[in-house]
Amino acid sequence: MAEPGQVTCLLNQLKLGNRDALGQLIPLVYRQLRLLAARHMRAERVGHTLGPTALVNELYLRLVEQDHADWKDRAHFLAVAAHLMRRILVDYARSRQTAKRAGTPVEIEIDALRPVDGAPRTVEILTVDEALNRLAELDAQQARIVELRYFVGLTVEETAEALGISPRTVKRDWAMAAAWLRNRLSEENP
């Protein structure tokens, strides 16, 4: 993770109206996204794939729409970014479903949605997304943890840092939420 100070510094710049700061924030906050972007550089990825670079760009564009937001701190920014990342993945998963139902060929692939061990992930993502809405009503902190762990791919430690809680708490909450989600997934896809 980037040093916390840098992020807050950039958030302050963002508040002051420096839009460029946003462009700097993403690579700082999302080491994962940088790695995703790196993979995009590989030649074989170029093609009809919504590559990680596009993902980052997409996230960037959506963050720009939020630029009126009064960023409180790093955690706040991360929360918003994570929420947007979730929306991006869900939107793509949904559009892919729609395309399949309509029988139109899928023009855009997204790495994150590629099948794992043969199982398509679109359904999984949509299921988790829906379940997460329910979870948010029951335990908001757990829902935030899932958002960061699942939709952004943060580690336990990174999540703890982002939310300002102890890694132990993250581990405990995540264990239960993940168990619950796994049950929901197996109910949807027996």
Binding site: Q13, R121, N183
Partner: protein, 861 residues
Amino acid sequence: MTPARWAQMKDVYSAAMEKPPAERDAFLDEACPDASLREEVRKLLEAEDRPPLESPLAGVLGRGVLPAAIGHYRIIRVLGEGGMGVVYEAEQDQPHRKVAIKAIRAGLADPAMLRRFEHEAQALGRLHHPGIAQIYEAGTADTGFGPQPYFAMEFIQGTSLLHHAAEQGLDTRARLELMAKVCDAVEHAHQRGIIHRDLKPGNILVDESGQPKIVDFGVARATGSDVQTTLHTGYGQILGTLAYMSPEQVLADPLELDTRSDVYALGVILFELLAGRLPYQLSDQIAKAVQTIQEDDPARLSSIDRAYRGDIETIVGKALEKDKSRRYGSAAELAADIRRYLNDEPILARRSTAAYHLRKFARRNRALVAGIAAAAVMLVAGTAVSAWEAARARAERTRADRRFQDVRKLAHAVVFEFHDAIRDLPGATHARELLAKRALEYLDSLAAESGGDTSLQLELADAYEKIGAIQFTANGASHLGEQAGAMASQQKGLAIRKAILASNPGSTAAKAGLASSYLLIGDLRYTQGEQDASSDYRQAIRIGEELVAAQPSDRSLRMHLALAYREMGDMLVGNTWFRHRSDVVGKWGPPGPSADVQGALANYQKMRALFGQLAKEQPQDLTARALVADGYQRLASVRAAQNDFPAALELLRDALAVSREVYERRPNDVHAVAGFITLNDFVGNALVVLGHPAAAMSYYAKALALREPLAAADPTNAGAHEGLLWSYMEMSYVSAKAGRQADARLYTSRLIAAQRVWAERPGATADDWEDYAWTLLTCDPPGLRQPALGLAAAKRAVEMSASRDPDNLDTLALAWFRTGDRTRAIKTEREALALAGDPSRRKEFEATLHRFENGRSEPQK
């Protein structure tokens, strides 16, 4: 399901998970008040058997993988990880050695950045200094995440700076010596145009032999901090740890960043090394921390340890100035002051001086030259359009070629003809800067297009030289006072000329240019108080002698050789000593302890022979004549150094005669006027020394008569104002000596009036008020002193400098004393003493304090 129920479930589930699986059922029986809760938790526990939930992004992250090799380096382990990349310990086979590999995160690389990386890596490879971790290679590897730029560099077995100092129990002297070495290394890189941008104790390792080694030089820049159009915009600017960032760096303005930003970081490191803490208490909230760095005064070193009172504190304070133009101009200057302190020599850092006023003056004068500048911009704007068209029309080969030549001609005209035409007009400095800079931009772009066109490269080197001269010229009449910038420009010129000579060893123009580069660089070094200027001068003389031997009839070659002799002579004798000394009217300063008077004489004689030859061959060449006068003047200085004042006076009179002739023929040339005024002063000085005040008076009067219209024509010109004050002081002093008390009164009254006007102008400084106060308190004849007014002026000065300037306080103490308040005088003088850095200054203050404590106060009449 309700939140309360969910929370209950969570408690039971979490507790159950901590039990061994075999005991869980029993635990649930005990812990669950109802069957449905038990069932819910049991289902959750069963989920353990299902496939784990993984982030859709996790599969493509590839985190934590240690590559087997990067380039031809075997990776051994991870040494560290930061925002930009990972540092590995690695092994190389041939030669067999350990290296450190700094791999930039692949995700940060885009094609523009990779190009920049290659370019910068070449520059970094040229850094060879024992204080800088050597970069062996820079390359790009593919470790499966796309092209990943990396540096292979010297593996340093050592500890970080602060740790080393603590571990070895270094005393203050050893710590200062260590920092001076660090400064040397930083200077080496600056000379090659490389700024570190991220200096901090963690980036300075000290090896077993005690040699500091700076790592990560230029890495911030090489890795794309300046690429404006990518996601990583300005990334490098926030790379450094905030605590070591200068005010301009926390603003993240890449244009404001220069070598002096590194000087600031060195100041913070020096502070921390001595005090064991940072100069600021920085808030955790970055916005507040940024504000602190930009606005708050750093802690005083002496507030942490009284032992640091004085020079060390002054040195650190100067490095930490918020306005970079008030910092040390280079790491070398900082190192030189540290060493001066260690050698018990007086340091150079002190309150703002003439150079500061000069910069202010240049800034103020911008408005005056707006007219000239506007004309220049219009001319250059035309050039820009042509350049753009030239680029567009590249397909039409012949036409494009012709345009290329047109643009080049125009750029050439701007730099050389138009520039030279306005060079000696008073107040043209800014216009010159603008012109030269713009023209240089076009030449730069043309040079990039033209590849190996030698004549264009030569022009480019000349243009750099000119810009360097506008930025700073040692002893020059008009320049911008930017020493570090001038050094960078002159070094660029030098590098280009060297490169031309490498492919065309016979090029006279390149050789002559090379000599000129050495000469100017030597001047800059000498001005900055470096001792090694002699090697630059020697190079200039060696090349010049070679050229003159090959083409003895070339006037320009001889002229330049003569100038090289002159500079060498100046350096050997310590030339500044015979210039004006504002503290003692009519006296000659002593030559410095290291002055080589004989060596200087030898060089001056060679110089005079050449100048004489040139003037004789072409009597109408006024420049040669002016230089003849200059030669006399310098020989006079040597005679004066040998205490042979009659001989000095004769030489000065010869110089004055030649100088008058030049002045009469070029009355609007600033150099001609300045030279003539100075010589009148010098002849007057020599006469005073020889005991002829009445005779001196007529020379001083001539200088005054020339200065008055200059000051009147340009009321904001600090140089002209100072000259005028100087003349009034001279006249008053010499009148009193000659027994003409009425004249002495007259000139002192004028001095007071002029100082008052100067102090009351908008933009006046604390020092202007202090100078005014000082005159009101101490002037001669004593009947003109006005202690009450002096007290008011001194209070004003102290108020303006927020009681932080020892000299302002010293003057205020005297004002209290002279107005009869001995208690306040003593108290104020003690404050001044507590702030004084310079040892000689402290001694003076101590003597004053002693006088106040023992003397009777001098009540107002």
